[in-house]
């Protein structure tokens, strides 16, 4: 890997999958540069960005001309290309299968329901867009069901979602289920809702994950903080 150039990550730190990518890059000290894309300003719809990613979504990874979308594909690519500890994406087929099982399930479960709740409760009202109370209520119920699954199927008697050690699964999941602490830095875009409030098992899982990621969490936080400083300094 000598002389390998840094990867470029196109991220909007208000986006949960983007944070997962950032935390992974920082935690594993993978050389990278950040290109911030502000979804709320429509920067994902510009002609240049659309050329990079016709899907007009973030995160996007550019590894010296190799452009990749989809956060779980990106994380798996980084985990296998760089020398990261095995527990992130284990080589052993049975262990790896557990992480693949979670990341597949994650899309239309954890991510979908948590994101809908967040959009309806925080983003749309703050952007003056109409909300859909029925959709919000349904998303809360769906999210509840998802959290039951996380506790009863994935966590069961394990400390992390896929076993004894933290993996990509925990990283993706925790970014969806944070206490909106990142978003609180962009006051007033903060709902104060903690969906894990009455679930001690998931609360301890989340603490465990946060401890395992403590430095990188802070680093990612500091990037967000710097943006906020720049933003408020302009006012």
């Amino acid at each position: 890997m000598a002389g390998r150039q840094a990867v470029k990550a196109y991220l909007d730190l208000l986006s949960q999958p983007c944070r997962a990518v950032l935390i992974f890059l920082k935690h594993n000290k993978i050389p990278h540069t950040l290109e911030l894309v502000a979804l709320r300003k429509g920067q994902h719809k510009t002609p240049e960005f659309s050329k990079l990613n016709p899907m007009q979504k973030v995160p996007v990874l550019d590894d010296n001309g190799f452009v990749l979308t989809e956060s779980d594909a990106i994380l798996k690519y980084l985990a296998t290309t760089y020398n990261v500890p095995d527990h992130w994406y284990p080589k052993l087929p049975e262990k790896r299968a557990r992480v693949d099982e979670y990341t597949a399930w994650h899309h239309v479960n954890t991510r979908m329901h948590a994101a809908t709740v967040f959009l309806q409760e925080v983003i749309f009202p703050n952007m003056g867009q109409p909300t859909n109370p029925a959709k919000f209520k349904k998303a809360l119920t769906d999210l509840d069901g998802t959290l039951d699954m996380l506790e009863n199927m994935f966590l069961k008697r394990k400390p992390f979602l896929c076993g004894d050690d933290i993996s990509l699964a925990d990283l993706l999941a925790v970014c969806e289920l944070m206490q909106n602490s990142f978003d609180c830095l962009f006051q007033p875009m903060c709902s104060g809702r903690d969906v894990l409030k009455d679930r001690p098992k998931l609360l301890s899982w989340r603490s465990r994950v946060q401890s395992a990621l403590s430095d990188s969490f802070d680093e990612a936080h500091s990037v967000v903080y710097q943006i906020r400083q720049k933003f408020t300094a302009k006012l």
């Binding site: 979308t69 594909a73 690519y77 296998t80 299968a97 557990r98 099982e101 597949a104 239309v108 479960n109």
Partner: protein, 247 residues
């Protein structure tokens, strides 16, 4: 036989696992289940798969399953490793592999749900409730599917013979079974899409026409089967239908 695979070929993810295992001569015990019969709710099946969905595998003491709203991905990735299938299915080259992962990830919230919906909207819901889907809802669903198919052609296929390049991979397999689902509901997704049709023909040839057609029997006869189906059979799906589709 130590590998058991639980499948209902009416379901797209089950088809991809079935085709993959058969094509690669992986020896397995084919456990046929009928999702419509409600087998997934039995206590027996609950031991195999807490998510109570198909497909599911039992390899010795190792159980693996996914929600039917995701797909068969983890299972096939596991089989590629365990049975050392030809490289093109899930290339060792990390950039090619990433392309497969990229497609497998993207399709979860696009082609998969949009394609599935057609079967429900055109056949199963009218059967269960005895009413047609309102026109606006149907039009929106069709539009969603068309947008996904457009993106599929523009971004994932482009001018390549297969999604990742010159050879078939898991991405094509997962894509084809999902794209065939609305066909079962009487919707010709290949009409006016020559590129898509050419790709489908290529994929079918690579898999082997016989295996492909065999796996898709349930789809080819879907309209017939649903017509003669006893509505009582889908009674237990009604609450789910109401929550997922009609709320």
């Amino acid at each position: 036989m130590s590998l058991e695979i639980y499948l209902d070929l009416f379901s797209q993810p089950c088809r991809s696992v079935y085709i993959f295992a058969k094509k690669n001569d992986i020896q397995f015990d084919y456990k046929k289940i009928s999702l419509f019969e409600g087998y997934q709710y039995s206590e027996e099946y609950g031991k195999i798969n807490l998510l109570r969905k198909a497909p599911a595998i039992k390899d010795g003491d190792f159980y693996l399953a996914e929600s039917v709203t995701s797909c068969s991905v983890a299972i096939m990735l596991y089989l590629t490793e365990k049975f050392h299938t030809p490289d093109h299915w899930y290339p060792a080259d990390l950039q090619k592999r990433a392309r497969v992962n990229e497609y497998l990830s993207w399709q979860h919230s696009t082609i998969r749900p949009h394609g599935s919906k057609m079967m429900w909207f055109k056949l199963l819901i009218p059967k269960a409730f005895g009413t047609e889907i309102p026109k606006e809802k149907m039009d929106n669903a069709v539009e969603d599917l068309n947008s996904s198919l457009n993106l599929f052609e523009e971004k994932f296929l482009q001018d390549r013979p297969f999604i990742v390049g010159d050879q078939i991979s898991l991405a094509d397999l997962v894509a084809i079974v999902e794209i065939m689902q609305p066909v079962g509901a009487g919707m010709d997704v290949f009409e006016n899409r020559p590129k898509l049709k050419a790709w489908k023909d290529r994929v079918r040839a690579e898999i082997g026409a016989e295996l492909f057609d065999e796996a898709h029997q349930a789809i080819f006869y879907a309209q017939e089967a649903v017509k003669t189906m006893d509505p009582e059979k889908i009674e237990h799906f009604k609450p789910k239908i109401l929550r997922y589709f009609l709320s």
